[in-house]
Symmetry: C2
Subunit: 146 residues, 2 copies
DNA sequence: GTGGCATAGTTGATGCGTCAACCAAGGGAG
DNA sequence: CTCCCTTGGTTGACGCATCAACTATGCCAC
């Protein structure tokens, strides 16, 4: 038999899940003027930090904890907009590199300041340093149980 | 000029946003065996609590903080699967009721226990009561600034 | 009553994410 | 060398969410 949540538990859980939804929406909204989606953004960040601005699909997927399929679709869409391109992988004929284009690099450099502002405005600058640290600690505790 | 985040701030922010993504994925995964998506679930919850198991699209959208469009698409899909149906609104010819079907009611009753278990396993039972309360308080503080 | 604006809802296009099916190359064990 | 399993990646279909465009009704000012 399952025990339902107490009113307090329900309230706190709902507060949290609602916040998560609002935050995702807010991130997307603030990124929109730059012409990038949040998935675009995170892919560009990882590629821009990689040596030679390129990563094997495999490694990029691992870095982002994304499925092969998800990444493949995303890189296809980004290729269509000139943000990245695929390149074959010498040494392993199965492999494919995802490579950041100059346009992609320009896009992430242009988008980053507004994104950081967005994160500050919605979270980091709203909490005290201690509160943010607590939030981070709780988040890591929950993550470690999954 | 924009100030980038400190390593600690970045770490805590990333912990939090990553947790949010994992949680959404986990909720969807645990609901999947019941044949419901998370959007299905929340719509069914609200309708099942409404008088006569029905709400104006307008009111349902407000309750969920969903756009008219989002809700219209969702109800269309749910109607196709027999979980809900539309009904015209006497008194305002523009209006439409979303009505829970017996199948929809059965579906939510069947899905709820596993969903609650899922929330407990991923969050509520992982934290101490004090920690959960803190998480809720921080979430509400952040929400109030948006 | 009519003109015009607000309200209620739908639709189509497009991006995003998952799942299942698929293909091709690598790398043993025999 | 061949068989077979694993690894790396793509594709197509479908559900989900947003945006912009659209229809239709309600309602107020005049």
């Amino acid at each position: 038999m399952t025990t339902w949540l107490s009113p307090d538990q329900l309230r706190d859980w709902r507060s949290f899940i609602t916040l998560a939804e609002m935050l995702e929406a807010g991130l997307a909204r603030d990124l929109a003027p730059s012409g990038l989606s949040y998935p675009d953004y995170v892919v560009l960040v990882v590629l821009s930090e990689a040596p030679e601005h390129r990563l094997r699909m495999q490694d990029l997927g691992t870095a982002l904890s994304w499925s092969k399929s998800r990444l493949s679709h995303q890189i296809r869409r980004m290729s269509g907009r000139g943000l990245a391109r695929r390149e074959e992988c010498s040494g392993d004929a199965r492999g494919v590199y995802a490579v950041l284009t100059p346009e992609g690099l320009a896009a992430i450099k242009a988008a980053a300041p507004a994104h950081v502002e967005s994160v500050r405005r919605m979270v980091v600058d709203v909490l005290t340093p201690a509160e943010l640290a607590t939030l981070g600690t709780l988040a890591r505790k929950l993550q470690s149980r999954m």
